[in-house]
Symmetry: C2
Subunit: 306 residues, 2 copies
């Protein structure tokens, strides 16, 4: 049976931290529920790059996913990030996602050694699948070479998908390289999510179910509307709305999406814990936050927590 | 009390794997003991880049260090690698090294996010020290930006060493950038090990205790002789010996040090498990191994396991 596609907007959920930098589980669960209920998101990708996943321990990642499930969030709407640099620990996180019956596990390639071969990365995923050894395992490859330092070539993605058509079912392409995204969408049985809303209209025209985007944390409803219009076939209206959505995206990018969105959430919700990031990430300077907030409000009538 | 310097050659120990890719603990322990007994090494750095550390799980790394200590290797001669991308798991490995009373923990900066600030990395190490909270903690920073993707600026190293003079006691500089190594050696109370034997003579002249080098696994005696001659003040003889030592280093680099040395050990010792690498690393093609072995034997009378 082919994997059902989760359509729409998927948010790589920001991870809030308490003042001692432990995971703020209460705030995390509330925020995740809100993204699905009123934030425009049809799915969640807990512990992606935006969720500072690689700054969070294996134990904390598993306990946080447990908390989301315990709070009633349907695992079929979630594709947690599970990729580390070694097989055993990656298998632990990936198996945990499969045991919860998640939509998928979003799995980086081993990213410490650079310049490794496609054969080496193929073998890495093949052994991971053997180690997890679970009927509910579905992997979405995670291609974000500008951060991880290790990309997945089109040829490698095709080989992996052909070898494991019911396990390696999709990919998140955060490269920002449209030619790469288009080439992935050309693999017709693969589920390809662009890693941002910028190319989402063109991507949906080529068969994408939507996108997974950092800015879904704050601008979910704006992005979701564009996606919904596309799926309804109203591409002209989608293009119109997309203009503002793209401008807001570029604005967040100028300010660095993770600290910028956290800072805006702190101001908009009144919960100062949103200002906490784990090192090596740092919070945004207060004057920059005020600038960004003013621009969003004045130019786009965009407010948080309103 | 200032930290005593471990002088001489330190080997980032190759990690042998059984055919099912579990750590071959018996072979690992024997090899580590041999490096110290007859291999020219005065110290060991288990689980550095050469030891495929980031391809080995947290559990496996701790059990392997336990096995080395249980086999009678003095922890004061060891500086295991402990750096991962998040604080809690890095603290687990680092505390484990401190609890064994190791010479030090060789600790990468958090290496997932790229382009992070010095302030963010300073905070990362500061929080790590607080989390480990152990009197025997000694950290050697690990600077290998061409692999990890995240380097440590001279200014940051200086700040960390000044803030924690008895904890952040040294650095392994594997950048291959002599200007960087010389600038580190200019911080007189910092213990700086170049990450290769190529600049070891000049480094010792500026106060380095020796070097930590991938090729210590096979050419330890050759490198150690150069270092010993330097410490004895006989720099002319050291320069003479250094010529061949450098040629052998370049030869290994041409063939990729980890698979090349493992392949030579498999052929030289007869234990085929040395051919095993963990993905994403791949074994060397047999014809290349034969070429390398022939060159080493014919040109340098260099044989393994003889």
């Amino acid at each position: 049976m082919p994997t059902p596609m989760l359509k729409g907007l998927i948010s790589p959920v920001l991870t809030p931290f308490n003042n001692d930098l432990s995971v703020a589980t209460d705030l995390y669960v509330d925020f995740a529920k809100q993204l699905l209920a009123t934030g425009g998101c049809s799915g969640l990708a807990p512990f992606g790059t935006t969720g500072e996943a690689l700054s969070v321990s294996i134990r904390e990642r598993m306990e946080s996913l447990d908390a989301l499930v315990a709070a009633g969030i349907d695992p079929k709407l979630m594709m947690p990030g599970t990729g580390l640099t070694n097989l055993e620990d990656t298998a632990t996180l990936t198996r945990h996602a499969a045991e919860h019956g998640c939509y998928g596990a979003m799995t980086l390639p081993a990213f410490y050694f650079k310049g490794v071969s496609d054969d080496g990365l193929f073998d890495y995923y093949a052994r991971l699948i053997d180690m997890v050894n679970h009927d509910d395992l579905r992997i979405f490859l995670y291609h974000i070479p500008q951060v991880s330092g290790v990309g997945l070539s089109i040829d490698l993605v095709r080989r992996l998908h052909e070898a494991y058509p019911e396990i390696i079912v999709g990919i998140k392409d955060s490269s920002g390289d449209w030619d790469n995204t288009a080439a992935l969408l050309d693999i017709k049985t693969l589920i390809t999510y662009p890693g941002a809303e910028l190319p989402v209209i063109e991507a949906i025209k080529l068969g994408a179910p939507g996108c997974i985007s950092a800015t879904a944390n704050l601008n979910g409803n704006g992005i979701a509307k564009v996606i919904d219009l596309c799926h309804a076939g109203d591409f002209d209206a989608a293009e119109d709305d997309h203009k503002t959505v793209k401008e807001i995206r570029y604005l967040f990018q100028d300010y660095a999406p993770i600290p910028a969105q956290k800072a805006l959430l702190a101001r908009g919700t009144g919960d100062a814990r949103w200002n906490n990031l784990r090192p090596p990430m740092m919070a945004m300077a207060p004057e920059k936050v005020a600038d960004l907030e003013a621009t969003l409000k004045d130019k786009y009538s965009f407010t948080i927590g309103g």
